[in-house]
């Protein structure tokens, strides 16, 4: 099985220094906005504890809340479907669109449908799918995937967007004025909204007690998309359910502040029943989630996908979301991917210095760095790390035998300073590619201690 080469991807991303710096600074700016927004809420830490409690409680009674949601939603006239995996989700959605005779679909941002490859599936069946979140539309036009769960096109700079828009939307080639580009995108998307036969949205929260779903967007595109067509399909991971609107209040206070530093997402849309004459269908997807629930990584199911852990992660900021080769990148994405396919994603738990900054920004207080630490145990078994495993085991033997270790170090002390430079610095010495190698001190501490004792 091919292993994702995160280190190689990161090195490639870093080659364009200006771009990498811009990426880092743009996301650090968002992190700082988040800090300011969080600091403006005196009870921030209590709020995080409350959010953690809400989601943990829901997970502990997940079956109950999902069934409650299902029955309440049905009572509201919503159709509820269940999908075991991505394939089933795609089939259900394609089936509903077929029944409805839908050819053109507008979709608001949903990482779940990304995860399941819905766009490609529908397009192969002759259905036009237009992503209507601006960032998402940009990556769609570029034939790429989102590189961030909240800021899907953060890896692209405005001149790239200008080139893309001039190719696809006929804008002036060299005009990269954001206002001009946004207007062009808006005009283009308005047309898509008007022509759409159906709308697909994600779900940020599903309210069990009320039997409705909540979608948060900053551009209002979920509302625009669902306004005209008679069919609205909302796709949700089964962990999105929360007990009731009261619990939602805690989570929405945290979501936007953690994500972008806004006090609240611009549009928090509640869909409680189908519109007159229309259909509202909710597809509840498992796709590996119930497996996670049984595992040691269960806690990651409390994630509300705010993206704060990415913005705070010094590795993510400098390697870009695509370096992870996952739907959800960054700290949370690495845990999710490694839990699902530890072999293929073995490098991701190691694309982390265990700095733990992600733990502190996470509104759900997920102990992300400990989750990554735990994932390393399984990842290390992967064939991708055969060499690393062997050298570390060798080091372990050495460390267990201090006399042998000291003998080796004494030899290093004698030899290292005398080595010709090209013996020490070559492609085998990865540390030395960009750094000078430290030299052992003339006398180790233990020798100093012996001499001290002797007086």
């Amino acid at each position: 099985m091919a292993c994702v080469d995160h280190a190689g991807n990161a090195a490639a991303f870093l080659k364009d220094k200006a771009q990498a710096r811009w990426h880092d600074e743009a996301l650090w700016y968002v992190r700082k906005k988040r800090d300011a927004a969080a600091a403006s809420v005196p009870e921030w830490e209590e709020l995080r504890r409350a959010a953690e409690a809400v989601k943990e409680h829901t997970l502990a009674h997940l079956g109950h809340y999902l069934t409650l949601f299902e029955s309440q939603a049905r009572a509201n006239g919503i159709e509820v479907y269940w999908a075991e995996n991505g394939q089933e989700l795609n089939d259900i959605v394609a089936g509903l669109l077929r029944e409805h005779g839908a050819k053109r679909v507008v979709k608001s941002k949903s990482m779940l449908t990304e995860e399941c490859g819905l766009n490609a599936y529908l397009q192969q069946r002759g259905i036009e799918v237009t992503d209507t979140d601006l960032g998402e539309r940009i990556v769609q036009l570029a034939g790429q995937h989102p590189s961030h769960i909240v800021l899907p096109a953060i890896h692209m700079r405005k001149r790239e967007v200008a080139a893309l828009f001039s190719e696809h939307l006929g804008t002036e080639r060299d005009n990269d004025d954001p206002l001009y580009l946004t207007r062009a995108a808006r005009a283009h998307l308005r047309q898509k909204f008007l022509e759409a036969d159906a709308a697909i949205t994600g779900v940020n929260f599903a309210l069990a007690e009320e039997g409705g779903v909540v979608v948060c967007t900053n551009e209002g595109n979920a509302d625009l998309g669902t306004a005209l067509p008679g069919l609205h399909i909302a796709c949700m991971g089964l962990e999105k359910v929360v007990p009731d609107a009261r619990a939602l209040g805690v989570l929405t206070r945290l979501l936007a502040r953690s994500a972008t530093g806004q006090a609240i997402t611009t549009y928090t849309s509640h869909f409680l029943r189908p519109k007159p004459g229309g259909r509202l269908c909710v597809v509840i997807v498992d796709n590996g989630r119930s497996g996670l629930l049984q595992s040691g990584q269960k806690k990651v199911l409390t994630c509300i996908r705010c993206g704060a852990c990415m913005n705070s992660c010094p590795v993510y900021r400098r390697s870009g979301g695509h370096s992870y080769e996952t739907t959800v990148p960054g700290p949370i994405g690495s845990v999710l991917a490694a839990a699902k396919e530890p072999g293929r994603f073995a490098s991701l738990p190691f694309a982390c210095t265990l700095c733990a900054s992600c733990d502190h920004v996470c509104p759900e207080r997920i102990d992300l760095h400990d989750r990554l630490f735990a994932a390393r145990r399984v990842a290390m078994e992967s064939t991708c790390f055969g060499g690393k495993r062997r050298s570390l085991r060798l080091a372990a033997v050495l460390l267990r035998h201090p006399r042998l270790y000291r003998f080796v170090m004494a030899a290093a002390r004698a030899v290292l300073p005398k080595l010709p430079r090209n013996w020490l610095y070559n492609r085998h010495n990865l540390w030395g590619l960009e750094r000078e190698v430290p030299m052992p001190a003339k006398k180790p501490f233990r020798q100093m201690m012996r001499e001290r004792k002797r007086g």
């Binding site: 280190a7 990161a10 090195a11 870093l14 650090w28 992190r31 800090d35 830490e45 705070s312 010094p314 590795v315 400098r318 390697s319 490098s347 190691f350 694309a351 982390c352 210095t353 265990l354 700095c355 733990a356 900054s357 733990d359 502190h360 920004v361 630490f373 994932a375 390393r376 145990r377 399984v378 990842a379 290390m380 690393k388 495993r389 570390l392 085991r393 080091a395 372990a396 460390l399 267990r400 201090p402 270790y405 170090m409 290093a412 002390r413 990865l430 540390w431 960009e434 750094r435 000078e436 430290p438 030299m439 052992p440 001190a441 006398k443 180790p444 501490f445 233990r446 100093m448 201690m449």
Partner: protein, 249 residues
């Protein structure tokens, strides 16, 4: 008199003995009986952090055997102490790990929490502009500082408080308190990324016009030192213990 077991992380022993010697001298100057068990070895951090806890078990057991009987165990390294405190639980009987965890301290944490900032005796002035690098395990696992992303009242800032007791010192914090990119084997496996992170940290400090960069984890300093040296940046890197002990000039 309280007895302290001095734990000297493996790479400090061979590469940065001055940091260990400084630690010893500071502890003795504050009236402790400090012993250095000869047969000590690595705490096991590289093995734990690379998902090989089973291979680290024997090192953890050795640690308990050598250091179990002291009133305190002190080391000039926050990441090693964090390993003993939080990772040993994975391989040792819980009671044993917990009892040990309560008695292990990073040097500055010890000076701050046990000796007390008011009672510090630091007779060596250090009239320099010094950039303080907060290493992540110290900052976020041991709480030796206040990470910029949290809003917990009464957080530590212990290293800085102790350092600022040194006469003439001007401690300057960088604009970001983020990771330097060392991360143990991360620095090798993700060498390009690691180097980028380290260079960013160095640039942040040099923008403040510091002459010296210090911290409580020599490993982070070693990484940044290697980069600065390669880039011809005239910066000195010293362990914070050396500043306290007058061994940084």
């Amino acid at each position: 008199m309280k007895r302290i077991g001095l734990f000297v992380p493996c790479y400090i022993d061979d590469f940065y003995p001055e940091a260990a010697l400084s630690t010893l001298e500071i502890l003795e100057a504050h009236g402790f009986d400090v012993a250095y068990p000869e047969n000590q070895s690595c705490c096991g951090q590289p093995l734990f952090n690379n998902g090989l806890p089973e291979d680290a078990r024997l090192l953890a057991e050795r640690f308990v055997k050598l250091f179990g009987a002291f009133d305190y165990v002190v080391a000039p390294s926050s990441s090693c102490i964090a390993t003993v405190k939080y990772r040993y639980r994975e391989v040792l009987p819980q009671k044993e790990a917990e009892a040990l965890g309560k008695r292990v301290y990073e040097l500055f944490e010890f000076l701050h929490d046990v000796v007390g900032v008011e009672r510090l005796r630091l007779p060596h002035p250090f009239p320099h502009r010094v950039g303080l690098h907060q290493s992540c395990h110290g900052l976020r696992e041991l709480g030796l500082g206040c990470p910029s992303e949290t809003f917990v009242k009464g957080c530590g800032d212990k290293v800085r408080r102790v350092l600022e007791k040194v006469e003439g010192i001007d401690v300057v914090m960088p604009s970001r308190d983020e990771c330097c990119g060392f991360g143990g084997t991360f620095s090798v496996q993700e060498h390009a990324l690691s180097a980028r992170m380290g260079r960013d940290r160095i640039a942040d400090h040099t923008a403040n016009g510091v002459e010296v960069i210090t911290g409580v984890d020599m490993s982070c300093l070693m990484h940044m030192q290697g980069l600065a040296k390669r880039d011809g940046i005239p910066l000195r890197f010293v362990h914070a213990a050396q500043i306290l002990a007058g061994r940084a000039e």
